[in-house]
C-alpha cells in the first residue's frame, strides 16, 4: 500500500492520498483494529467475576471444544441455515422467474415490491411476524375460526424458520433476478418448438442457466441465516439458542468476552466453509 504510484490521472498523488485518508482512518480505527483485537480476545480467559485474566491462553478454546453444548449449537445453527436457505429458495424461485418474465413498468414495480422489504428494519418486520404468529395473532385466530386447534407457531423453532425465510427472501430474489439476466426467452421457445415438454424445458434449459444465481442466493441466505440475531431472538423468546444469539448473551449478559470472541471466530469459520463450498460448486456449474 505504501507503493501507491499514480500515473496519468488528473489528480496528483497527494490529492489522491488526501481523498482516501478519511475512509482509511475510519476503516482502521473502527474495523481493522477491533476485528484483530477480537481475534486476540479469543486467546484470553474470563475469571468467574467477568474480569479478564492476565496472559495469553488457549483455555477458552479448549473449554469450548470440550463442551458438547457448543458442538450441538454449531450443528443446530448450520442445520437451521441449510433448512432456511432451501425453503427461501423454493419460495423465491417461482416469484423471481415470474417477475423476470414481465416487462416494462409492471416488471419495475414488481422488482421494487420484492426488494423494498430489504430496507425495512428487521425489528419492524419481525414484529410483524409476532403479530401474525403470536398466540392471539392473525394466523392462530384464523385457524381457530375455522374450527381447528392451531399449532404453536411462536417461541419455538417453527416461528424462527418462518420469520427468517421471509426476512431473507428479498436477498434471494435479488440474486436470482441477476442470474436470470442470462436467460433468453428465445432459447425456451426454441426448445418448445422442437417438441420439448414444459417441464423438460425447465429442467434442461431454464434451471441450468439459472444455477449461478441460485448458488449466489444460497450463499448469501446461508451466511445471513447463520449470523442473524434479531429475528431468532424475537421469535424464539430465548428458547432456541444459536451461535449468534449465544454471542450476544455471552457478551452482554454473562460478560464473558473471550468466549464471545471464540464463538465469533467459529461463525467466521462456518462462513469460510460456505465460501469454499460456493467456490467449488461455481466451478462445477461453469
Amino acid at each position: 500500500m505504501n507503493t501507491v504510484s499514480v500515473n496519468e490521472n488528473p489528480f496528483g498523488r497527494k490529492l489522491v492520498l488526501a481523498c482516501l485518508l478519511p475512509i482509511l482512518l475510519v476503516n482502521i480505527v473502527a474495523f481493522m483494529v477491533p476485528v484483530l483485537n477480537l481475534a486476540a480476545m479469543s486467546f484470553r480467559a474470563a475469571s468467574s467475576t467477568g474480569s479478564l485474566e492476565e496472559g495469553i491462553t488457549v483455555s477458552t478454546w479448549l473449554g469450548l471444544f470440550g463442551d458438547g453444548y457448543y458442538w450441538s449449537m454449531v450443528g443446530r445453527t448450520v442445520w437451521f441455515g441449510i433448512l432456511i436457505t432451501i425453503i427461501t429458495l423454493l419460495l423465491s424461485y417461482p416469484l423471481a422467474l415470474f417477475v423476470s418474465r414481465r416487462e416494462g413498468s409492471l416488471k419495475a414495480f414488481l422488482v421494487v415490491v420484492c426488494i423494498s422489504p430489504l430496507l425495512i428494519s428487521a425489528v419492524v418486520r419481525t414484529y410483524g411476524w409476532m403479530v401474525i404468529l403470536g398466540d392471539q395473532g392473525v394466523l392462530p385466530s384464523l385457524i381457530r375460526a375455522s374450527g381447528f386447534t392451531p399449532p404453536r407457531l411462536i417461541n419455538n423453532e417453527t416461528g424462527v424458520i418462518i420469520g427468517m425465510v421471509e426476512i431473507l427472501m428479498p436477498y434471494m430474489i435479488l440474486s436470482l433476478l441477476s442470474g436470470f439476466g442470462k436467460l433468453d426467452a428465445t432459447l425456451e421457445q426454441a426448445a418448445g418448438t422442437l417438441g420439448a415438454r414444459p417441464f423438460t424445458v425447465f429442467r434442461r434449459v431454464v434451471l441450468p442457466l439459472s444455477l449461478p444465481g441460485i448458488l449466489l442466493g444460497c450463499l448469501l441466505c446461508f451466511v445471513l441465516a447463520v449470523s442473524s440475531f434479531i429475528t431468532p431472538k424475537m421469535l424464539a423468546g430465548g428458547r432456541v439458542s444459536l451461535l449468534a444469539t449465544e454471542i450476544y448473551d455471552q457478551a452482554i449478559v454473562t460478560l464473558n468476552w473471550p468466549l464471545a470472541a471464540c464463538l465469533s471466530v467459529l461463525i467466521l469459520v462456518v462462513f469460510g466453509a460456505a465460501l469454499v463450498l460456493y467456490g467449488r460448486l461455481s466451478k462445477i456449474v461453469e
Partner: protein, 270 residues
C-alpha cells in the same frame, strides 16, 4: 381434445398465478399487517381487533422515551449521512479516476466490513469502545455506523461513477481546468443521482441499524430500533405497530427517492 388441453393449460395458469400471489402475500404480510393492528382499540395484540381507534398513535405521542429515541435516531442518521457523503465521495472519485498499484485491494479493504456479520462487528467495536469510553456517546455511535454506511456508499458511488462519460472531464482538463474545478463543475453535477441514492441508502441503513447499536448504544443513548427491540421483549401492545407503520411509510419514501435517482435494484444489489 384440443379444447380439453387448452382448458387444462388455463387451469395450470390460474394455479400458477394463485401460487405467485400467495408467495407475494407471504413476503408482504408482516409489513402490511402492522397497519390494521396499529389502529386496534385493544390493550394487546389480537386478531381481529375488537374495535378501531387511533389511541396507540396518541399513546406514541405521549411516550417520551419513544419520542426521544426517534429524535436521536433521526439526528444520528442525518449526521452519519452527511459524514458518509463527505468521506466517501472524494474516496470514490479518487478510486474511480486514478490508476495505481493496489487500487483493487484498497476497494476490497474498504468494503470488507459488509462481509463481516454485524453481530461479530458489533462485539469487536464494543470491546474497543469500552476501553476508549466511547460506549453510549454520539462520537462512538457515529463512528460505529460509519463503518457500515461507508462501504455501501463507496459501492453505490463507484457504480454511479463507472457509468459517467470520462471524456467530458478529460476535455475540461485538457482545456486547462484545475482538477478541483473539473470535480466541482463537471464530475459533481454529473454524479448527483448517485449522490442522492447514496444519501438515501446511508440514512436508512443508519436509521434501521439495530445489532451494532444494541452493542454500543449503552443504556444512556436511546435509539429507535433498540428501544423497539427492548419494548417488544417485555410487552406486546399495539404501540410498536404504530411506530412500525410510520417507519414503513418513511422507508417507502426512501425507496421512491432511490428508484428515481439510480434505480432501487442498482442501489441495493450486492
Amino acid at each position: 381434445m384440443i379444447r380439453g388441453s387448452m382448458m387444462l393449460q388455463g387451469l395450470i395458469r390460474t394455479f400458477q398465478l394463485l401460487a405467485i400471489a400467495a408467495i407475494l402475500a407471504f413476503l408482504l404480510a408482516p409489513v402490511l399487517l402492522v397497519f390494521p393492528i396499529s389502529f386496534s382499540a385493544d390493550a394487546y395484540v389480537s386478531w381481529p381487533p375488537s374495535g378501531w381507534s387511533t389511541k396507540w398513535y396518541v399513546a406514541l405521542l405521549e411516550n417520551d422515551e419513544m419520542l426521544e429515541a426517534f429524535r436521536n435516531s433521526f439526528l444520528l442518521a442525518l449526521y452519519v449521512t452527511v459524514l458518509t457523503l463527505l468521506i466517501a465521495t472524494p474516496a470514490a472519485v479518487a478510486l474511480a479516476r486514478s490508476t495505481f498499484v493496489g487500487r483493487d485491494t484498497l476497494i476490497s479493504i474498504f468494503t470488507a466490513p459488509l462481509l463481516l456479520p454485524s453481530i461479530v462487528l458489533g462485539l469487536a467495536i464494543l470491546i474497543i469502545f469500552v476501553g476508549q469510553g466511547l460506549v453510549g456517546t454520539w462520537p462512538g455511535m457515529i463512528l460505529g455506523h460509519l463503518v457500515i454506511t461507508l462501504p455501501y456508499a463507496l459501492r453505490v458511488l463507484l457504480t454511479g461513477l463507472g457509468t459517467l462519460p470520462m471524456f467530458v472531464e478529460d476535455a475540461a482538463g485538457t482545456l486547462g481546468a484545475h482538477p478541483l474545478t473539473v470535480f466541482r463543475r463537471i464530475t459533481l453535477p454529473l454524479m448527483t443521482p448517485a449522490l442522492v441514492a447514496t444519501g438515501a441508502l446511508s440514512f436508512i441503513v443508519s436509521f434501521d441499524e439495530v445489532v451494532i447499536s444494541l452493542f454500543i448504544a449503552g443504556t444512556q443513548l436511546k435509539l429507535l430500533p433498540v428501544s423497539l427491540y427492548h419494548y417488544v421483549e417485555s410487552r406486546t401492545d399495539p404501540l410498536v405497530a404504530a411506530v412500525s407503520a410510520i417507519m414503513v411509510l418513511g422507508t417507502l419514501l426512501i425507496v421512491l427517492i432511490m428508484e428515481r435517482a439510480m434505480g432501487l435494484r442498482r442501489t441495493v444489489a450486492k
